[in-house]
Symmetry: D2
């Protein structure tokens, strides 16, 4: 029997959607238990959340620094921390826990600049610690199967990628009654980008995870479509990959008629693969024989490297929590392997600071392009 | 803060799909914790499972009777038991826990005969205990919204129902490499019916839950399509409801091309509603204006009585575990209300022994019809 | 260059939908030209339609008998007649033209009783004439490909068929503003059945065309769902085929949410095929490997015996007129072959009086079943 | 009764797909009859085609000039000519017939340069002649309904447009066995662009027809994805409209998995509209109430200005020929109105040289942009 890990959380207090979502995703598999946390800026709210979660009061902390120190000092200190605070604080919090020798899982974006992300990446390597960045959509079985197919050469060399992520929830001019919406469109809280940074990076990461291709340059058009918006709510990016393929990414929050429409279409010399986040239980692909094939999670035609993540038989729908849970399954297994001395690099199946760095250099290049008349901007080469 | 309940499980040992699925569904919300169990026929396997689940060894029991007694005697005994054993044992186990004053959640079918189900129903009433029968599909937000729409009269008086549940997993003659398949087709373990009892009853319950209509008579054709099968694997039932509407139910396990295709279409005087289990995040309906409307979970157009069960924003896919979890949410809330003295009948939103009785009288009438040349057979009237 | 045939029409006067539809379908290919007709009960209306169609006045007739005689007497008389009158007159008109040595195309149902259909069948054989009954849906390329696949054994021996034809256009109680609707629900004009006879027979014929299976017995439930209706508007039929397979057919005109939803699903030992009239450009099938395959008209994976009927490249949508046109292409080619002495029985690819007989014996058995408490009724064996 | 017009055709000889397609589309409605033609470069082939079409030999011409002269001289000369020759000859042929006072219908692109198109536009105006450019997709009832909805303000001011036209038929490196393919990729025959000019212009025209928006500038990336290609086979264009809205157009012939995937999505302040060429019988739109509505051709919810073009009841599928036929219906009605003196500008419902000019200035700007490092290029303002 594997040991059940323990974890703490920074952020995720009353009303937080994402903290709650991480906790449920971890609970689904029961491989780790929450035992500590600093959930809110005010200690009282932290206490409230902590008690709701049945956490012992001495492990409910007033701030993340105290928490990192105290947990690092305990014999039974947490195995990892989950960071679900506003983006601008990820860097400081992540660094603090790494410095105290604690593995980190952090919501995306890992930091707000690529320089910070590189720093965390180096620090984690130096400390021998694991760092999960929760790009949730790469956790779907069908997304993993797409990666296996592409790696096996089933669609041949990739030529063209079409990635889109349309949402409609910010289409109204007045979104003041929606807390989530309010902070998304506020530069103080969201930094220099909204649509591209929030959802465009999911396109970027999903394509990277499926294809392994690196973006070499971008030409971006980041637009504010709703009057009065300070940040982009509709962004389009032309992309070139290191194998010469080209792509177009479209991220929009003013696209009524879509809920959470992340869709990736990959066209290779021999075939194509279509993946759609809102129908994550199936994958469509076409080879040169002209048949359009649909593969369903749970069937033998799914690659074992992907199908092993399924929890239910085919047709018994899995969704977002399961995808997020899959990232944690790999992360937790890797932590245990570290402890047991059986860890090897191929266990890094989950997105890490490296994914975070790719995402941030992508965003930074897009901002430079968009602010300079939509010119082509090269991305730096990243040392893995 | 609400108290976190504790529960025990009977069944769900090594290799059990359904026990694991119930545990995950409950874990998703963290409203109850597993603290006891008798998971297998052999104590050693029970121990193995119990330890995996971090259960104290003195609460891992060799058999359900010992468990019921011991837990009833403890100050901190379990609040409810979850029964996920083979169908034929449900009655005895359910009765035992009820007799010991413990609330029961039981996988469907609640028993193997309607007489047994009625007995449990009466016993639970007499004891003031709650009994959840886990017809999972009624737990979907969209299924609940369908019920709200129909109750509000949006499609008018119902005229016709088409329910189907095609699966393809038993289409091969040789299913010996599939343990699930083997016991499904074995009369020793599955009783007098396979397709109709296993999945046909999900049609019956889903329609009942959505429409509130009771079946008054059936004409059933239960067939064995794969050579050598002893039990039905393709069954069709003509149905008459108490309001004069008519329905057709089709349950098949030899229908290649389907995974778990429970689909309910309800046609009323003013409109129609289509619900499909494999795409549970949306509902289609049409009124007389000719527009086909699609409603997505997470949007304001979902009735609050249904939308409150959602855990994620629209487009962030929920599935089977969430549906099952919703049944447990209502069940647990009702148990707490019982304890706190705030319980009222309208909290019985989850399927109970009453649903179980309806299901069994339906199956019994179908068997009688099918074994007698597909004649019409009336269903008994059930005292609620 | 093939000779262009000439044809005449009986029925299809002002306001007739179906006469117009036949003329357009024939015009699409230009293989036959309309040169004569008796379009209405009144000569004046006939004249009006005939002039619109640029028909010489001496070939616009006051009644079909005069027309048959006159055309038979002309050197350049019509090659075939198209009958698009109300159903009850098909028999007399068909017989008259056959007796005058003229090939016949007739809208379905070919007659109102199977006895009449058999008589026409015998008469045509005796005279060496061709008789097309325009079951339009068998003319779709994808429907023909389904037939080829089944004949080639690709889905193995057939076990189960699900056929449905839901429409919503008669769901309202008051349809008095719809002329089509008014005569459909009137027993004087529609005979003893509405839904089953009008659209149920399309299910029956489509299944027969695709599978080649003959129905041996039926159990029918023909219902009037709208208050005040004299004829069935919602009919369900359990079916047994000569190979032991079973089927369920559902034809409804009160099913809001559907336009013209003929859908055929065929399940064999090795695979299944799904065909849907409203999306006639594609076909879905699944074999035991678990892949759901979609085939699109215009691709090489369509059997040449079917693909040859396509007029446009893949993705350039074809529809109802093309399907109807395909029946006429085969009919006209067969007439020419008759003239040229090159005719052989395998040119009878189109539906004939034989299909008409099957349809009528099916309806007659259903009526008997439905009127006698939904008992099983055997179908007579038909001499081809 | 309306007069039946007569027409001649230039091009459309043996093996021509598009000439045949135009003839069938016109035949569907019987409003015009082909009576003259010059179908091929060689007179013999012309004769062959002409005889097949039952054209009198004295009206089968060796070349288009002779034809224009002769037909203009005849009392019963053709009412209009249909030009379906290779693109490079459209200009000369069109001009010749206009000069002889004959109305023109011409396949797109109307010419190869905008200067030529403007010349034809002016000439037609000067002569009082009509000029149809057959952008077929604007002829769909659902596309027309989209236009009506947008004009009526139902989705509010337009913000974003996503247009795509993926095809897979040129994905193979070797397409030498496909005649159509061979000339498409040959700069001698196709000019300076393939994908953008052939199918990208259908996106441009469809958006223009639906929205009425004019493009003010473009940034284009025209790529050759298959090794050895001389012309673009995958092109992406960023677009700005005169109301400030932005668009992205993607045209590809290397996108396996698509047949003829023209898809237009239009997002306004109040709602969005999705139209897909391969499913032309329906339209999806979403307003701020969150319901996704599907409208089907044939229902009352289709605007009368669009629904009047339907020929069949809802659910009886119409397709490409009907869409093309609708353009001809409007063109022919306008010619007759010209003759009868009842013509008014609002009868110009069909695409004309003006659409052709828009298409060519779009292509020219894209070429300039793509050849100059994907910079923004302004489009000239067109005098209507």
């Amino acid at each position: 029997m594997k040991r059940r890990l323990t974890y703490g959380m920074v952020g995720g207090g009353p009303g937080s959607f994402i903290g709650d979502a991480h906790r449920r995703s971890i609970a689904l598999d029961g491989k780790a238990e929450i035992v500590a946390g600093s959930f809110s800026r005010t200690y009282e709210k932290s206490l409230e959340t902590g008690r709701d979660l049945r956490i012992a009061e001495d492990r409910i902390y007033s701030d993340y620094k105290t928490m990192a120190e105290a947990e690092a000092a305990r014999e039974d200190g947490i195995d990892f921390v989950v960071i679900v605070t506003p983006n601008s604080s990820h860097y400081e919090i992540g660094r603090t826990f790494l410095e105290h020798g604690i593995h980190v899982a952090c919501d995306k974006p890992v930091t707000t600049t690529s320089a910070e992300a590189i720093e965390l990446h180096e620090l984690a390597k130096e400390k021998g610690l694991l760092f999960l960045v929760t790009y949730v959509y790469s956790g779907h079985v069908t997304a993993m199967h797409a990666r296996e197919m592409i790696e096996a050469g089933e669609i041949g060399e990739i030529r063209v990628v079409q990635g889109e992520y349309p949402q409609g929830w910010l289409a109204d001019a007045d979104v003041s009654d929606n807390k989530q919406a309010s902070w998304r469109i506020d530069p103080e809280l969201s930094g220099r980008t909204n649509a591209l940074g929030d959802i465009g990076t999911h396109i970027e990461n999903s394509v990277y995870r499926m294809t392994g291709l690196h973006i070499t340059e971008v030409l971006a058009r980041m637009e504010k479509k709703v009057e009065g918006r300070a940040l982009d709510d509709n962004s389009t990016v032309l992309v070139t990959y290191d194998n010469g393929a080209s792509g177009t990414y479209w991220a929009s929050q003013v696209a009524r008629g879509h809920d959470n429409g992340l869709r990736i279409r990959i066209y290779g010399e021999k075939g194509s693969i279509f993946w759609f986040q809102e129908e994550p239980e199936k994958l469509r692909y076409t080879l040169s024989d002209g048949y359009v094939r649909e593969i369903h999670r749970g069937h033998d035609c799914i690659d074992p490297a992907a199908s092993c993540y399924g929890r239910l038989p085919s047709g018994h729908t899995e969704g977002w929590f399961e995808a997020m849970g899959n990232l944690y399954v790999d992360f937790i297994d890797a932590i245990i392997a570290k402890e047991e001395g059986t860890f090897s690099a191929d266990m890094l199946k989950f997105p890490t600071t490296l994914d975070g760095i790719y995402g941030l250099t992508f965003v930074e290049a897009c901002l430079e392009s968009s602010e300079n008349g939509n010119k082509w901007v090269k991305l730096p080469t990243i040392q893995e």
